[in-house]
Amino acid sequence: MSVKVYIPTPFRALTGGQSRVETEAGDVKGLLGDLEARFPGMRDRLRDEQGVLHQFINVYVNSEEISALDGEATALKGGDDVSIIPAVAGGSAFTIEEVKRYSRHFLLQDVGPSGQRKLKNARVLLIGAGGLGSPAGLYLAAAGVGTLGLIDFDVVDHSNLQRQVLHFTDRVGDLKVESAKQTIGMLNPNVKVEAHNAILDSSNAFELFREYDYVLNGVDNFPARYLANDAAVLLGKTLIDGGINQFEGQVTVYKPGHGCYRCLYPAPPPPGAVPSCAEAGVLGVLPGIVGSMQALETIKQILGIGDPLVGRLLLFDALSMEFRTLKLRRDKGCPVCGDHPTITELIDYHEFCGAPIPAELADQRDRVAVH
């Protein structure tokens, strides 16, 4: 009742070089069990931690694959030939479609196929699928960032269409994350979009941020801005921050150890001290410029090229068409990233809006030369 088993070359180190072994077993399961018992290390080669046969291991009885028979319950009789053959597989990094799509990246020395692979492997979380998240999401997707996470709880409203270019008129009333996912899928089907229809708060921020390499902040309210900042600092994630207010925008990259939003604004202003989002108004094209710059900084982070906007706050005035750069430094007394932090867990603030520039920064802004 002896069965012959063919041992593939890669497993012969375990069988002392034998290419064929004989065993007495009534079925495949028994046969594999016998091999596992006789040859230390065989079990790991055949099965995962749960004891399931690896999907890249093929077992044949008389040239017939066991998945076409009774699986591991396939009965054996004397004289049967059993073969164990690992899969032969591989692949190349890009499809023809991708090579054509990213050809302008491939021509750049600083990107090329290896940079494109970095983009493909990158996971970026966009907080908000609105004014900033729209251009950022479109450009990151077009550039080939492999996975984009989107968190937003809102539905598309007519008033969004003036600037939130991920959404179209016929999507009014749809969830923003679903509308965004649809648009990105049309632009670049190679991008995986992970839609999180939720409000960012202390209950989900850590869990969500942990899943991604970079966080692009496109929030329009203070509670989320402080929450995103604190979560990024506490997890050591780089936050690509942007903000807009009427005719002005600002962009910076908060990298762990190089300061954070609370170094500039230690605590939120009291509710009512700043105009609500709806009241403030914003020029339509402005978030397109700011969100695109955030996307650019994100790509520079992923590729590791250029001088990142770390330790610098870029201010943009749409009316005068002027860019100014302010130097930012980590504040040793910062409540979250300072030497003796007092904030060690996430805080949920109440809803309020606006983005005032503190007096000392406003002064400095007038003194700093345009870069």
Partner: protein
């Protein structure tokens, strides 16, 4: 240093298979005897996304046993329709299942009008190491 000899007609057969299968990747099994490729056997590509992946169809894998039963060493070939004839990260990862096996690779990226033609190379991969195996082409066979 190890070299492997291969007949021009065998290279032609692999290139013809790659061209016929493009834009998908194609794959196959080869038999090697004392540093000489003695047989080339095309197999089916069962990968779910064959544009940039290959997986020898399990129905064709018994070829491996045949080759070894004949007393030959088993090797493999596959094509890269658009990228270079060099193992990708995925190739290197999967080579863990067959470390050290002869891997022939053909690239069609230059197989276009005005291009320099198909590129053909051989490797033995012991992840993460990729060893180039110089090919000696027998033009008479």
């Amino acid at each position: 240093m190890e070299t492997v000899s291969i007949a021009r007609s065998q290279i032609d057969a692999i290139v013809a298979h790659a061209r016929a299968g493009a834009p998908d990747e194609v794959c196959g099994v080869v038999a090697v005897r004392e540093g000489e490729v003695v047989r080339v056997m095309p197999t089916r590509n069962a990968a779910a996304t064959p544009r940039n992946r290959f997986e020898i169809d399990s129905r064709d894998l018994m070829r491996v046993v045949e080759v070894e039963r004949e007393g030959h060493d088993v090797g493999f070939y596959h094509s890269h329709p658009v990228s270079v004839a060099y193992p990708s990260a995925t190739d290197i990862g999967f080579a863990e299942l067959w470390p050290g096996a002869l891997q022939l690779m053909v690239s069609l990226r230059q197989d276009v009008p005005g291009g320099t033609g198909p590129e053909f190379h051989a490797y033995r991969i012991v992840p993460p190491q990729v060893n180039v195996v110089p090919l000696v082409i027998d033009e008479s066979r």
